[in-house]
Each structure stands twice: as C-alpha cells, then as structure tokens.
Symmetry: C3
Subunit: 136 residues, 3 copies
C-alpha cells in the first residue's frame, strides 16, 4: 500500500490524481491486476470522470452542491454535513484495471480526488492485487 499526499486549496475541489496514481504503480513495479484508490476521509471522496474540459468538474461540484447544499437544515454541528452527504454519494474508492504497469482507463477518463470540506491536507491510499499468470 502506498500513500499520496494532497493539499487542497478550496472548500470543494476536484483534483486530477491520475498521473500520481500511475507513478505509484510504476515505482512499485505493478504489472497487471486491479488497483484500488481509497480515500480515508469522511468529507472527501474519489470519482472517475472527464479530465479534458475543466468545466465538467465545475458542473459536477455545482451539481453536488444543489443536491447537498453547504447551508441546510442539518443536525451535525460542525458545518460540514453537506460534505458527509457528498462523500457518501460519490464513494470512498474507485477500482481500476492495471495492464503492463499502467492504469487502463477510457480515453477521456481521469481519477479525481474530491475535496468537499477543504482546504485541508489529505491522503489517498493506493493498493493493487496482481493478476496471476494465465488468469485472464
């Protein structure tokens, strides 16, 4: 298991971590298998989406804000109930395939760390399970 450290700058923000995940796999000598990208926080998450046009990220954040607005009738007193809801919706991990030492994704896909209660110092854990020879 390897860790990626991220410093977020906004309260809500999507940060493309695809190349950092790739680097981790390369350094570790991962070949083929499944890779899990896991966020150990409860007010952040991770998604896979388009890494070409940055307006897509803005729309995703705005869409989540409409679903779970910062200001709302919440019971949790820390002012970040919306972040817990957003985190539950997008999820704490993504699973991607690794082939020949690289993450195999669609042409327009990237892995995005989702900050919902920043700015903060955050961590992402990367782990993978190798594909046994001849299994696929």
């Amino acid at each position: 298991m390897r860790e990626i450290n991220i410093s977020t700058r906004q309260r809500t923000e999507l940060i493309d971590i695809t190349s950092r995940v790739m680097s981790v796999l390369k350094e570790a000598g991962a070949k083929s298998g499944l890779c899990i990208v896991y966020v150990p926080h409860t007010t952040a998450g991770v998604i896979i989406n388009e890494n070409a046009d940055p307006t897509v990220c803005q729309d995703i954040l705005a869409g989540l804000e409409r679903i779970a607005p910062l200001r709302g009738d919440y019971r949790h007193r820390e002012g970040n109930a919306d972040a817990h809801i957003k985190s539950s919706l997008v999820g704490s991990s993504v699973t991607v395939m690794v082939e020949d030492g690289r993450v195999r994704m669609g042409t327009w896909q990237g892995i995005f760390f989702c900050e919902f209660d920043g700015p903060r110092s955050r961590r992402v854990w990367v782990n993978w399970i190798p594909q046994p020879a001849g299994a696929a």
Copy 2:
C-alpha cells in the same frame, strides 16, 4: 480483460448486461474470485439493481433526471453536463463475487449499464481476480 460492446438506443437508458457478464466469465474459464465490471466512458456508468420489474429502471432514471436535469445552468458547452454528474453519482464500476464460474448476486439483482448521453456505441470491460485456493 474482456470487452462487451453495447449499442444504446435512448439518451438515457438502463440495459441489463448480467447475462453478458456471465458469458464472458464462462468463456474465460473464471472460477472463483472477484469480478470488476468497468465502464470506460464519462457519460455512462454501471449499477446493480432490480432486474424483475422494469418500472424500477424508469424510476431510477427519472430520479437521476430530477437530481441532474438535462437542461440546467451548466458551464460545459457540449449539452451533456447532466450525464457527467449522473456518471459521477452512480460510478464507473461495480464489483461482484464469482463462485463456481458464476456471478453471485442477490435474487433480484442485475448488472445494468447506464447510458446517460446516448444513443451511442459503448464498451464495458470485464476483469476478474481469482481466489487463490484455500483463501476463503
């Protein structure tokens, strides 16, 4: 890794691909382990839900449409910002267990490809990691 090709017919549509995933695993001789069903697109996704009553799929699509309507105040200029949001919410992959060469799911569960910006030609990637002997 094997690929399933799908031709969608509507802008938004849920397509049951359970039997196709099962066929892929059978052809590949998969026995026991974990299977990941991965969508390499940013305006589509995959879910597990009820495959008995088709009105459930209609309600899920309508529910997502209320959350992220086709027409909205979006910045992305391609007219499919809603599809990116929906894709981020449902996710790009599902993980299921494989036992004795079959996907093991609940009685009413099916695997559904989620088209959010069709009609299009789409792909689904199926991979699995075998359970080593004696591990579970």
Copy 3:
C-alpha cells in the same frame, strides 16, 4: 465468502457493521489484501462514512430523502421506488484494504449498512482476495 445477518428496525437506517466485518476477517484468518463488503439487496446499500457523531448518519439519511423522497411520482407500484434510487446512488458494495488481519480505514471511518426499505432481515456478504507475498 462469509455472510453477516442483520435485522433492521426502521424504514431507513444506517447500521455500523465495521466490527462485524473485522470479526469475519479474523475468523477466516485473512491477512493482507482487498476486502469487498457486498449487499445482495436492491433496496439497501453500503457506504463508508463517519462513525463518531451519529448526527452524521441522520443527515445522510435526510439528504438521501430529499433526493429521493418516499412519496413521489413513481411508476413502481410497491411503494419503495425511493429505496431503489437510494440504493443505486450509494452502491451495492465497498472495497477496503486489509492489513495484518484488520480492515485498514481512516480514523473516523466506519462501514455502514444502509437500510432504505426496512424493517427487514438482511444479509451482507464479505469476501477478500489476499495480497500475494511481495506484491506491494
């Protein structure tokens, strides 16, 4: 694969199953690898979120209720269309890392079974794939 049995008491409810998942892994002698916690139901789900302040769970359930209210203009006639939508949003499984026989999660994270159409008797399946020696 091991099964956890859960009796839910409310229509919608989040139940912390972290210690039960840990027990399953311990009993089975799991060491290191990936663990999948899978819900074989179509009106329930599973998330990872904060297990410290119970108001977080209340806010998450209330947030999902705003997104997919119990009473709505649904086609499915069983009165639980909202539960199918909620289940599709949060997902049917979570994947967590196992190290030294324990689930490795963030400080504040717990695994929560999500009941969206209770009270009912429910099941959760726990499976894991060991990390081969030297792989990470």
